[in-house]
Amino acid sequence: MTPVYREAEAALAARIAEAAASNRKFEIRGGGAHRIWGRSVEGEPLETAALSGISLYEPGEMTLVAGAGTPLREVEAALAARGQRLGFEPPDWRALLGTQGEPTLGGIFICGIAGPRRLRAGSARDHALGLRFVDGQGRVHRAGGRVMKNVTGLDMTRLLCGSHGTLGLVTEVALKTAPIPEAMAGLVLRGLSDAAAEAAMAAALGSPYEVSGAAHLPQSRETHLRIEGFAKLLPERAADLVRLLKPHGAAEILSCAEAGAVWREIAEVRPFVGKPGAVWRISLKPAHGPILAEEARALGGEVFYDWGGGLLWALIPEGEFEDDEAGASVLRGALARLGGGHATLLRGSEALRRRVPPFQPLAPGLEALTQRLRRAFDPQGIFNPGRMGA
């Protein structure tokens, strides 16, 4: 059956083809929930709202296909009705970012967003089976497909995921769904230093208990762990984990409701909501987390850890001076010294986002390759020009 949004796709493709011929530029707009990410774009709005609707959902195949403009809420409701969910736990960052719009399915994939479960289940890109997109010449492409395994041809799906709309207009996403486990339980260790928390999280994640969340909140000195599974077996597994963690401290077991609230707070970056300052999302080797945290604190900032310490959230005051960069050089410099990782400015004032590259600058060879790829997809550079930098 042809999805209802195919006509809208054709209309958008025609508009893009026309724009390419007349040197117009576009800003791709989904719901606007993540619009302040990256640099502001000057261009005609290209709205995805009409690309809405779920065109296929087969729970027994763990497969869902929907238009890129479909509200995430609608997708999650359809999945929940059949006991499933998006395995990568896309978080709602609207409170953090101060945005109002409705997160859309396309936005989640195009921004490459994932929540706490990313450490076990992977990110949005790991759950994309295929896409439809319009290239910079207005041609509609199918990438990947709707089956679980597909290595036919070059992987265009991965290139589009996380491209922030700079390669093409994604019109449809086929994704892998996951069953919702019967029950969830939380564990909390109290009073640990950053380094001790890192060690405790590593011990938990190295165990066979399938820990699906590991975060450390230095403000309250709470180290949280999450497990999911069969309701009647979860208490036993929690007890196993408590035993395993004994060398790190006495872990307390949280109820499902308590744990649910904690993990929502972590996913939504609640510790920084309502506080002024620039928000950095730093992806790094867990062992390097405490070192970066010290750098952030020296800048007058605060941090917390997710992904077992592989993700460091940092809130750094934005200064009033013209050359203020909210710690960009310090944080990125520290990562370079440590030999890996990257820092993304997720939230910052318009002026800061102009001064500082919101996305970590790439090594010259990778940057050159990126530019060549952009030209392959979008020769005239009509999609979201400048969003990701150069």
């Binding site: 195949e61 089956v147 597994r237 890996g340």
Partner: protein, 479 residues
């Protein structure tokens, strides 16, 4: 099947090129005599053979980069080779190609239990990673059936899967970083020991690119904690349709087993004759494996049994011991050997949505009958990745061509049914010309533009993935 015409100018300069390679590498690392080159003339797709111009075996990323720079300066095409286990001719060289082999780059460099990460040279075998990680209670999850021999570089090139990818994902999902030597000889570090590389997902583009974009010399892999235990259940059905429906029902019940294997009657019969696993006499059987603690295994298997009961199984055997588990797996693991005992075979790798499993199996049976060739099916059912094995006689003139035509028809049917040509083996040489059945000309063109962004001169692994005529047209238009 047509192969790209070798460049006569390169062939004429062979001695000069060999001398150039010997300036970069120690003498024993350049293979040039015909007898030794024979070992490199094909991979596991043995129907196609070609001796390369020379084989160069770098011992470091720096040597690999120097080789690539040299080949760029001399305008010599390059074919990378891991362990040569590709089933699709991914490592088939051209007569004018310098083959860059990864055999000397075979070390697991580092296992970091704290971050659960391994740093591995591209020539290391898949299994060697899991072996090196085992003392830490970790393993590398993607497990293609060639894991004893196949290399990590080859796994990255083909985005290899395996029996356990329903739960743990394929190579793509377990790859954190790669060292890529560009066709110009520049060394690029993509990703690292952290999650999510910045910028466009170049790692995702390189993974599964079949050696078309550059040479991967090193990979950073995610390691997974070993489960406490695992046990299978074997379920027999009186129709393939019932088995297929049971697979979907198991998944829909919220149980995602770690492995879900399907065998049809011809395969069961062949395995029975070959390995005597004492499988039930039935039309189709599933082997479903659960893992976790003993209590979790019991719970999962009980739920799987309850679901299976709805599909009137003719047999249901839950393993209660290591020995019983081994017995259940024995037939499945012998499947390829069993088919090999019946003759030469082509192993296909098409994918269909699970909901169309019964339909495609019926169609495959009809096609095989029409061709008068024996086809049996054994595959990873959870993800719809079919592996029809077409048995033929390589000594009978025309039989290979007949088997290939039969295979092409089956794969085209997979595409028509909303599936794809290849789930985990790659396109290689084998399915190159079928790409037009799955992609429209402009879709292939954009993929070729991506190839050009990485390899503007098209020196990497010629003759793979894209139909030759499409490549010629694209390159002429670009000039």
């Amino acid at each position: 099947m047509e192969q790209p015409t070798p460049d006569a100018a390169v062939l004429a300069r062979r001695d000069e090129i060999l001398a150039g390679l010997r300036r970069i590498l120690p003498p024993q690392a350049v293979v040039s005599d015909e007898e030794s080159l024979r070992a490199y003339e094909c991979d596991a797709l043995t129907a196609y053979r070609q001796i390369p111009l020379a084989v160069a075996l770098p011992g470091s990323a720096a040597e690999a980069a120097a080789l690539m720079r040299y080949c760029a300066e001399e305008d010599v095409p390059v074919t990378p080779r891991g362990a040569g286990t590709s089933l699709t001719g991914g490592a088939l060289p051209g007569a004018d190609c310098v083959m860059i082999g990864m055999a000397r780059l075979n070390q697991v460099l580092k296992i970091d239990p704290q971050s659960r990460v391994a740093r591995v040279q591209a020539g290391a075998t898949n299994l060697s990673v899991s072996r090196a990680a085992a003392p830490e209670g970790l393993f590398y999850a993607p497990d293609p059936s060639s894991q004893l021999a196949c290399s990590i570089g080859g796994n990255v090139a083909m985005n290899s899967g395996g029996a356990h990818c329903l739960k743990y994902g394929v190579t793509l999902n377990n790859l954190l970083g790669a060292t890529l030597v560009t066709p110009e000889g520049e060394i690029l570090e993509i990703g690292g020991e952290h999650m999510d590389a910045p910028g466009l997902d170049l790692l995702g583009a390189v993974c599964g690119s079949e050696g078309l974009l550059g040479l991967v010399t090193e990979a950073i892999l995610r390691l997974t904690p070993m489960p406490e235990g695992a046990r299978p259940v074997l379920i027999g059905f009186d129709s393939a349709a019932a088995a297929g429906a049971c697979v979907a029902a198991i998944i829909e019940a919220g149980v995602v087993p770690v492995a879900l294997e399907f065998m049809d009657r011809p395969c069961i019969v062949a395995c029975e004759a070959f390995a005597k696993p004492n499988y039930p006499d039935c039309e189709a059987l599933l082997i479903v494996e659960a893992e976790g603690s003993e209590a979790e295994i019991q719970e999962q298997l009980a739920r799987i049994e309850a679901v299976a009961a709805r599909f009137q199984p003719v047999a249901l055997r839950v393993s209660a011991s290591e020995a019983e588990s081994a017995a259940i797996w024995a037939g499945r693991k012998a499947a390829f050997g069993a088919m090999g005992a019946m003759g030469d075979y082509i192993c296909l790798d098409g994918v269909t949505p699970l909901s169309r499993l019964a339909e495609i199996l019926t169609a495959i049976a009809a096609i095989s009958e029409r061709y008068g060739l024996r086809v049996s099916n054994v595959f990873h059912a959870g993800d719809g990745n079919l592996h029809p094995l077409i048995v033929f006689d390589a000594n009978k003139p025309g039989d290979l061509e007949k088997a290939e035509a039969c295979g092409a028809e089956i794969l085209k049917l997979c595409v028509e049914m909303d599936g794809c040509l290849t789930g985990e083996h790659g396109v290689g040489v084998e399915k190159r010309e079928l790409m037009s059945a799955q992609f429209a000309p402009h879709e292939l063109e954009l993929q070729m533009a991506v190839k050009s962004a990485f390899d503007p001169e098209w020196r990497m692994n010629p003759g793979k993935v894209f139909p030759l005529a499409a490549v010629r047209a694209y390159r002429e238009a670009a000039e």
